[in-house]
Assembly symmetry: C2
Homo-oligomer: 383 residues x 2
């Protein structure tokens, strides 16, 4: 189902040979309308890949006819020639769809610093266009995988409309393990401003709170396309809630497939003075390599949690922090709490709860452990 | 030689049984004067260990008679009882030296969140006091090791005075892999204000620019003690330069002994708009797990360097960044440069040069690669 779950969308995923094998590496998602309202959020990295620079321009118009995505190359740090490659890709899609290149978004993922093989990519667009169908969502989701072990798709139906989506990457919108790409679709009839508000609200509490290794990609992109084909204009709050559910579902799939991870860790920060503080503290903990190693070793090393909290500027008193690991309050009042021997870290799912005792705000940040497999996978990636 | 290289200092290192074996784990460094001027810099972590809180108070007076250091326990996150343990430790040293506890600095390193075994620690101070000697510098340096494979000592002689030092830890003053402790001694005759200026200047360009894993310890401490026993009052700039040499020597030793590292990486940032920008960019690169994995795999993955640069707020234009890895300019103008196949990453020493083309400032930050051994060592530490 994926991006073709809502009415008005067709998709395809084909093997262009960009990856150099038989694996699918080019996806096309087409919005057949009647609306083509769209919104997007992009990486905050100041070194942005060519497709990000291009798609940001496209989204400024608030309309997207189609998205073309490739794995096998990020087209980042490729200079003006790389941007021309992205432009040529959009022109080609515009040509096969008999539409304007200015409403074609482009996403790429893979190694930084290499030009894309345009001699393989452009002909594959013709092939993909020929295979576009209402059943193509899964093939498209498959084509955007890099180190992803599984394709990530999700959809939710509400009264009168549907939201679908596909994603790739073991990372997130801002910081990112590898490039994270996501295309969300809906047959609801909403204008681009409403879509933008809903998308920013949904991603802020889902993809934005996934932090597997603190590395910010040059290519992260999340697009939301609305066909309006259902004829339903939902209540914006209800739509945002449903969109958040789809994003949360995809976020969980990204987390579960993070490179080399053996544990998924939810860091719940409560008692914070503000949402900002809660996220800041959660992110500092999520990025602490020593803690991530400890969780890998099934060691409830709460001292590393406190050391991470202490590295932030959040509002707290060191002697008022409480920490629970999988429900056992191992640290109370900044010092030794209940018996750490009672903590069971054998399950894959780990929850670390940090009570800052400084206010009413809370947030959950998701991360993974740090493993030898992560090191191996990222040492050998480009060789 | 170590801390006892300058005149006026005695030291000892003994096995108190804190670590639970025969290994030395308690060190004592005594300044016999005639001066006892001193300065100190401490972790910026807001969760500070009891000995840090204590020693900060001591250093406010600008005088230190002795430093007592233990490995085997950090005495961090131990609440009021932990602070009382530190206080009792200082009192005990004051008693055996027939001096004021208020001029006894205390340093601890080891696991966070556990009380120190005072029944072992206090009697060992008597033993250490009995073994104090002008030859005790190496034993003291040995006693403060935790995961350090080797003891770290250094000294430099100038015309009329000497600076010595010992350090432990595979980390740094601000961010830290594990606790970093350092005691520097000199027989130069300088007041505490001059010592403070020299120490801040020296550590800012040495320990402060070592960033092995971005984790900030609760216990980091660097102390500088002056006995004045040489009768020489050196020029402050000359003294600062010599002190910086000693700190740089110890920094290099810490780097070479960093947990699990197989590569030492110097990140030279040039062409920065300010020193702050240069250090910010260097630190962002030093903390990028993906790049650290790539270097481990001997993969000259300059795209990850650019992605790290792009995550900062430093002044730069993405298309004006040049990157060399071990002398090969693999990225020019933010895009592909010379053949990455020419980069030889087989030596242990790796240099990454980043030219921001934004100004005249430069800085070097040192880090290590990320390895499966690092993960193993830090997964198994407390178990």
């Amino acid at each position: 189902m994926s991006v073709t779950a809502p009415l008005g969308f067709r998709a395809a995923g084909v093997a262009a040979g960009i990856k150099g094998g038989e694996a699918r590496d080019l996806a096309l998602v087409v919005n057949d309308g009647p609306s083509r309202a769209a919104a997007g959020v992009f990486t905050r990295n100041r070194v942005k890949a060519a497709p990000v620079l291009w798609s940001q321009q496209v989204l400024r118009g608030g309309r997207v006819r189609a998205v073309v995505l490739n794995s096998g190359g990020a087209n980042a740090c490729t200079g003006a020639p790389g941007f021309q490659d992205t432009h040529a890709t959009a022109e080609k899609v515009g040509q096969v769809l008999q539409d304007s290149a200015g409403e074609i978004a482009v996403c790429s993922t893979g190694l930084i610093g290499e030009r894309l093989p345009m001699d393989k990519l452009l002909p594959a667009i013709d092939v993909a266009a020929g295979q576009l169908s209402r059943d193509g969502g899964l093939a498209a989701a498959d084509a955007i995988r890099t180190t992803d072990k599984v394709a990530k798709i999700a959809f939710r139906r509400a009264d009168g409309y549907t939201i679908g989506g596909m994603a790739k990457g073991a990372g997130m919108l801002a910081p990112s393990l590898a490039t994270m790409l996501c295309v969300l679709t809906t047959d609801a009839d909403l204008d681009s401003a409403a879509l933008d508000r809903a998308l920013r609200a949904a991603t802020a509490v889902t993809f934005d709170r996934l932090d597997t290794d603190g590395c910010i990609s040059t290519n992260d992109t999340v697009l939301l396309l609305a066909s309006g084909a259902s004829g339903t204009t939902p209540d914006e709050a209800e739509f945002t809630a449903l969109l958040t559910e789809v994003c949360a579902d995809l976020t969980r799939q990204l987390l579960n497939d993070a490179e080399g991870a053996s544990k998924t860790i939810a860091i719940e920060v409560v008692g914070a003075a503000s949402d900002f503080d809660a996220v800041t503290v959660g992110r500092a903990i999520a990025r602490n390599n020593l803690l991530k190693c400890a969780i890998h070793g099934e060691d409830p090393n709460w001292g590393r949690v406190l050391a991470a909290v202490g590295s932030t500027e959040a509002v707290f008193e060191p002697d008022k922090i409480n920490v629970a690991i999988n429900g056992v309050w191992v640290c109370r009042g900044g010092a030794v709490g209940d018996d750490r021997g009672k903590v069971d870290l054998s399950p894959r799912e780990v929850t670390i709860t940090v009570d800052l005792s400084a206010g009413p705000a809370s947030a959950t940040v998701w991360t993974t452990d740090l493993t030898a497999e992560y090191v191996h996978e990222n040492s050998a990636y480009s060789t």
